[in-house]
Symmetry: C2
Subunit: 208 residues, 2 copies
Amino acid sequence: MEQEFASSLLEAAVNEFSRLPGIGRKTALRLVLYLLRQDAEQAHSLGEAIIKLRDGVRYCRVCHNISEHEVCEICSNPMRDRSVICVVENIKDVMVVENTRSHNGLYHVLGGLISPMDGIGPGDIEIDSLAARVAEGGVKEVILALSATMEGDTTAFYIFRRLASTGVKVSVIARGVQVGNEIEYTDELTLGRSIMNRTLFSDTFTAK
Amino acid sequence: MEQEFASSLLEAAVNEFSRLPGIGRKTALRLVLYLLRQDAEQAHSLGEAIIKLRDGVRYCRVCHNISEHEVCEICSNPMRDRSVICVVENIKDVMVVENTRSHNGLYHVLGGLISPMDGIGPGDIEIDSLAARVAEGGVKEVILALSATMEGDTTAFYIFRRLASTGVKVSVIARGVQVGNEIEYTDELTLGRSIMNRTLFSDTFTAK
């Protein structure tokens, strides 16, 4: 859609919005025209929030999660179990796991997955720092909560081998039929793994 | 979706993004995390473009279209036909009509439509300034390119009566079956009007 804008400011704003993922030029124009109709205050707070976000955000020195301080709230919380580390790909995954309320340990954010196709090797993500945390002692279990993709599996396997000599328990989150999904529509690989890794009915369905 | 954010900056940015139309909290979070992964430059240019847009944008003194100057490029273009004014609801409609390349006259942006339900009367939109432009002389035709809604029709009728005594020709854009649409799926009202306002085959399909 070729459009000639009557204002270079309008054009600049549309261009910037349409650089965001999932936002085409048409949506960008809609957002920009919306902002023009609102109070100046709204455009100001949005613009400033974006700038402050990128400039002000810090990452936890220990787990690399997004943080307000040098060490994040989870790492510095005395109520969390410091002997269990859940390894995730990115900060979004920390939120997702936190929302399940089924992990009370700490986290380690890799900041990516090993992907030879994209030129991302073990040295490009936070694996050394994970090994260092384990080497410090006190860690009993490392839970790998990575995507069920080739990159996730490659990364999990690499970390598993890397930590093998430390004696720490390395576990992976269960893969199986999604809660609410029908067997009929579950892919064969998932179903196969889910049969292989079957659990005792009493373990799964008995209230804890 | 209740989420606890590890950073108040993150939370502020998500809140601001999700005030935009069509952007929920999930999309807002996705955009914010995307910006965090990009160069700081991108967040800066987006944030600044939004602020500059709202602060810097001006509207043409003559037609009320968005403009860089006191009088917009269209109004000050000597190649445009100053005797024909196309009346539209908003600046987006100017772009839409411009894209058709079928109007070489000027515009008049009303900035809304008469809508008693929403408490918007003729005095709340730019009708007085339209009448003043016509009264100045030199205008032969006013084309009403308004939405085919009750508000659009009300506004068109009001303008038509308002300009009746001036002797200027007031026309409305044709309503009919959309190009590419099947008769079968066209609503009866549109189809009825389209039959009533039928044109000579030779006028419509002969290349000009």
